[in-house]
Point group: C2
Chain length 248, copies 2
DNA sequence: CGGGGGGTTGATCTCCTTCAATCAACGTGG
DNA sequence: CCACGTTGATTGAAGGAGATCAACCCCCCG
């Protein structure tokens, strides 16, 4: 918890770690300057809620580092995670007042925020932002649909394997490591959060992780540190094409 | 086999039934003219496949009338519907070669197609198209996420009620009828297609529909014609907020 | 030391799948 | 016109995957 409470001194966009992937990826120097005028950084601690469902949002922004979740809740308390926000992902919806979901930081997190109104105006003037946002939204839509297949048609073991393989691959691309052979990463989610993502109970998640460990598909050190000796084996367990033809 | 006739231009855009909701909704007269130059109509019969997953797409377009489905398939044959395309919905993804899903017409259907390359170029020049497409994509993303909650956390009865309420509401808005009190509509899907949408088997779908009928939540004439005497009752059964606060 | 959050494991129950029989509507050819 | 096959739908019986309820462990921290 004892983190530097001061906001990280604002980066220059120039050497921002997500410069080439975020909503500003296509902006020219001059457009960046306009963005910088309405931009500010916010830090969140692990577990902290960024926005409550239904709340009015006065900003949008990008995840710079750390991880957040998008969650939907029914009146009786059942919850379903509908999105996992990793660095460079966009938060918020231009053209709508309130948030439709709870946004929660699951690790310490830094966000690059833009005041909403000016950002929306900026979007109308600079097509580069709108174009990039469209591209990112289409990618998110694809991801959501891929997840619909997981939720609707995969069994518990396949669901766990699917989640692990997604995290492993995104982690690998983030650190610019090859996505073949062995992979090592830390789970950014508790068992309960995984259950919320997969439409399972945390007990089932725990059992299936144990089973995958027992069968040698994964190795565990502690509860969170995962080694995948053979990625294609994991993909098979996920029910996906083993030759990993992800040409996204 | 089937002749998919390319019709010239049955409609003028002016009196197109989806003029105010489709991707062209915000276009000025002059922009419409440019669109008309790359546009053509295609008819599909019920059951006909519009595009196969992985196929190269040389067009994008809008559903003018009829209904289509987006479906994903695993190697072992399990399928999950990931989208329901109603009139005014957009088909295809600018900036990507192939289709990620099977697109199938479930009723006779008319599409307003645009040749993909010129459409993409047009998009760069006319922000009105890109803006509208962004808006529609964000709506679809919301719908996909709502569906993730259905797939992940609702039981069979709630799933059926959710599907019926979605179809009922979209049908009502399409015909500009009030979405309160009683609603009457025809199911555009077979029991099997509903099962594919809901992540269930067709037997479970059949049983739950019978149960909802037995309990007076819906009335059936034949297999397809549905009357919902009390929409808020249906919403309750779906596990949704009964006061239907859909302020979308 | 106690307490609490996160995790694992066991026993039981239940909702949905699976397998299978039956039915109604429809078209087709003898 | 009727036997036949086909397609979509309903219903029943049996079995299983995952939920539920509950005990217990581990580790960190005040």
């Amino acid at each position: 918890m004892m983190q530097d409470e001061k906001l990280k001194s604002p980066h220059d966009c120039e050497d921002c770690p997500i410069r080439h992937r975020a909503v500003c990826a296509r902006c020219e120097a001059e457009e960046l300057e306009q963005l910088e005028e309405v931009k500010y950084y916010r830090n969140f601690q692990a577990g902290q809620t960024v926005i409550w469902s239904g709340d009015k949002m006065d900003f949008v922004g990008s995840v710079v580092s750390g991880i957040a979740t998008l969650t939907q809740t029914m009146e009786d308390g059942r919850t379903q995670m509908v999105g996992l926000l990793l660095p460079s992902d966009f938060v918020g919806r231009p053209g709508r007042e309130g948030s439709a979901y709870d946004v929660v930081a699951t690790t310490d997190m830094v966000m690059c925020c833009f005041r909403k109104k000016p950002f929306e105006q900026l979007m109308e003037r600079t097509p580069h932002i709108a174009q990039r946002l469209l591209e990112m939204t289409l990618d998110e839509l694809d991801a959501a649909r891929e997840w619909m297949l997981v939720l609707g048609r995969k069994n518990a073991r396949e669901k766990i394997a699917s989640l692990l393989s997604i995290i492993a691959r995104r982690d690998a691309t983030l650190h610019l490591r090859p996505t073949e052979g062995a992979l090592v990463f830390d789970l950014p989610l508790t068992r309960e959060a995984m259950a919320d993502y997969l439409g399972l109970t945390l007990e089932t998640v725990s059992r299936q992780i144990s089973a995958l460990k027992r069968d040698g598909v994964i190795l565990l050190e502690g509860k969170r540190h995962v080694t995948v000796p053979d990625v294609s084996r994991l993909m098979e367990e996920a029910g996906d094409d083993s030759d990993g033809g992800m040409f996204a």
